[in-house]
Subunit: 226 residues, 2 copies
């Protein structure tokens, strides 16, 4: 049975959605604001999230960003019809679909089913990136080097995925920062160096002489394609 986290501050709508989803055979978790949503998402790991963008306090887009930082859980956004810009930004942040208010519960359920099916199809394929001795299971966020599993932090993982997806391609520090944070956040470029250092400590056989994550002097870093 699939579990859906509904993030909605308006009681009336929340109840409507909850009842309808239960009727349709889903297990429903509820949160009324951003922080609660993030907490529940982490602790309960629902199969998908229905997120109202018009939340008080924390903006719905921020919630999306933060969720996406550590998880690829499918997200459907609820928006008032006027917030078109939000929709677009939302889609770019990685929301899987959105529904505009007013909506029929029937439509919402249909979309939830569609998104879940799509997610399942994805998972079935199981996206795996291989590069040299490194193997990355993206949905599971698991990395092995020569078969040995490594424990990476969120940033280290994101960095490695970007680099390993296209071995040989060189990325600047700014590009890599973008990969780690959703959007280009103002910050010290060289924090990338620190992450690279830690990443190397974990995945390189001789971190002093990196053979996987290679620095390109004056430009940035790349995953070796030799």
């Amino acid at each position: 049975m699939k579990r859906v986290l509904v993030v909605e501050d308006e009681m009336k709508i929340a109840r409507l959605v909850r009842d309808y989803l239960r009727q349709a055979g889903f297990e429903v978790l509820e949160a009324a604001d951003g922080p609660a949503a993030l907490m529940l998402a982490r602790s309960e790991r629902p199969d998908m999230i229905v997120l109202d963008l018009g939340l008080p306090g924390m903006d719905g887009l921020d919630v999306t960003r933060q969720l996406r930082a550590t998880s690829s859980v499918p997200i459907i956004m609820l928006t008032a019809r006027s917030e078109e810009t939000d929709k677009i930004v939302g889609l770019e942040l990685g929301a899987d679909d959105y529904v505009t208010k007013p909506f029929s519960p029937k439509e919402l359920v249909a979309r939830i089913r569609a998104v879940l099916r799509r997610a399942d199809a994805m998972l079935g394929g199981g996206e795996i990136v291989r590069a040299g001795p490194v193997e990355i299971d993206i949905p599971k966020r698991r990395v092995t080097v020569n078969g040995d599993e490594m424990e990476l932090t969120a940033s280290e993982f994101d960095l490695l995925v970007v680099l390993a997806r296209q071995p040989g391609r060189i990325y600047t520090r700014v590009q890599l920062l973008d990969a780690v944070h959703g959007v280009s956040f103002e910050s010290y470029e060289r924090s990338v160096d620190a992450h690279i250092k830690n990443l190397r400590r974990k995945i390189e056989s001789d971190p002093k002489r990196p053979s996987l994550v290679v620095t390109v002097y004056g430009v940035g870093y790349k995953f070796s394609d030799a």
Copy 2:
């Protein structure tokens, strides 16, 4: 520039979409039915396809199936609100996204961009510049001369790219300085000479008699177009 094939039988919608996509900087190809779409997709190899499911004659889902049989071109489906089953089947057939009518062109463009971005990340467009015996892989910043790989510094590489992009075209030292640094930086013009010297040492078979990077007395340098 990205090329989008729009498959739509209703003239009004087709025109609306076409105009909006052109405005957004896409090149637009058009087909009004399934067979035409398949033909164009095969002959023109567009970067993505926007496909109306409600086509006369051949069903949009059949088109999807046939496309998928030979290609992995990204597909966005247009559906009328009621055809829910179609949507689901479409996604299972490998469509990348769907948009329900009525839709805003802005939304469509946003989704196209999102899908293209995803596809790009997958592929990694390798731009390659060739000039004489020199081959330059820009994203990888790799240079080969007659197949032998050369190690260039960042400045040498930047210089070479500018010159090799348009063999025969003559650049002044100032222009070449601009190429190396972002904007025209106040500095000693003749440091370009030093870089040219080092570059020649690496890529010319006889650096004393340069045949690739040629000096134009009194003006500057060019890449030989002979």
